[in-house]
Amino acid sequence: MSSGPVIDCCVRQDWGSQREIVDYLPEAWREWVGTRAIGIEAPYRKPGSRRPEFNLSSGTYKANDDDGPSPSLLRGSRPDVADEVLIPGSALYLPAYNNPRLAVALCSAVNDWTIDRWLSNGQSPRRWGSILVPNQSPDEAAAEVRRVGGHPRMAQVLLSVNGLAKPFGHPAYYPIYEAATEVGVPVAISVGSDALPDTLSQTAAIAPPGTFSEYQVLVVQAFMTHVVSLIGQGVFERFPELRIMLVGGSLGWIAPTLWRSDLQYRAFGRDVPWMRRRPSEYFHDHFRVATVDMERDGDVLEATFEAFPQLEQILCLGTGSPADDGWSLEDARDAVPPAWLAGLLRENAAEFYSARIPSTALQEDEVG
């Protein structure tokens, strides 16, 4: 069994009230928002999720006026976890606002809220934020990366939702990648944020899924599109230092997608002359995958690991804490081969976030 401090690459953060975000808007935008609701509701919910008896047993950490998360949502201490990378909940959808100006303002407000309420409270474990960007306005998104990317506790840029209806390998997003590599942070893509019915993009081919169950099966299509696009459009030739963390979306789609991509690469070189390596090589060098939503069936996992043993260097623990349907530390320890544990629990993520997260364990005199 692995020992040593753990990095959790997916800890959910959310607001207790949208007023928390509005308070971080500039005065004029606070006036503009007034009493309007700013949240965008996720279109797919688990059965019964609106029932009050489920509200306290799952969800996200919520900031409140006190330091740290709401005690009612704490799932017990996790003494092994030294570092938590925060992934927004409701805020994931804000970049999709049809009003692009408001989307810009809200992303900035969320980032300021994250810095002020989540990263500055001196608590242990160390928390690391994700920079939410209005990716439907790439130049403004890049400006936001440069504005807050220098904060030492901002660990990555988060590409959530897809307001341009273009896969993330499209040159439209290059300003964001340029800014991210300039400030020296990687990028994360979170599954699920492509699901909004009000945007041009869709989670699944053909049409939006009809039920939550269908959505859960098809949600990986968005990841497939983005990964194949990022690789196939030569983004990593243009930005060789760029790295991507995939948050959610299971593992089973990875090997078949890369097998087929490698096949096409061998045959159709003239079609993609800017690609100089096999797609699977780009994936190994530039992508990491958080374990949240990883398959539960042991036989399926074993087959997946056999089909794509490079996952040993790619998998990073992401529990989805405090959600009770995420991967606990103990579950994750039992799910992978023992030789993979050190990589899964810290080494792979430490290397990925090396520009921000120290490689050493939390020291007693560290604050904030």
Partner: protein, 128 residues
């Protein structure tokens, strides 16, 4: 000049920047003329045995780094018609899988006649 040589025909028979087919002792050969250079190979793609001479020969198109693409007119590439596999000339190596190679033969031009040594191992450069 190698002792074993087979005449494949006058240079004028082979159109510049095109693939041509020649049969010698029941062996089908594909011949590429690239300006004043000639390349001779088996008319059989190592991928899935497609007829190479029914493909095309083009200038190398690729990248030397970054996202810009470049073309090298001095570097011919044969493209198989079946699956579009590309083969570098003169090495015969598949561009995207160098361990897969076209079977090539030494070829040269003497007094406007094209010759090939069909007995030897494929060279990396054709002999002139």
């Amino acid at each position: 000049m190698p002792k074993t040589r087979t005449a494949l025909g006058p240079l004028s028979r082979f159109r510049d920047r095109e693939l041509s087919s020649v049969v010698v002792d029941d062996m089908e050969l594909a011949v590429v003329r690239w300006s004043e250079r000639v390349f001779v190979m088996r008319n059989r793609c190592p991928h899935q045995l497609g007829p190479v001479c029914e493909g095309i020969v083009v200038s190398w198109l690729g990248s030397r780094g970054g996202s810009e693409i470049v073309v090298d007119d001095n570097h011919p590439v044969v493209v198989c018609p079946w699956h579009r596999w590309e083969f570098d000339l003169p090495s015969g190596a598949a561009l995207r899988d160098p361990k897969v190679r076209l079977r090539q033969f030494p070829a040269w031009v003497v007094e406007d006649q094209v010759f090939a040594d069909l007995t030897g191992r494929p060279p990396t450069e054709p002999e002139q």
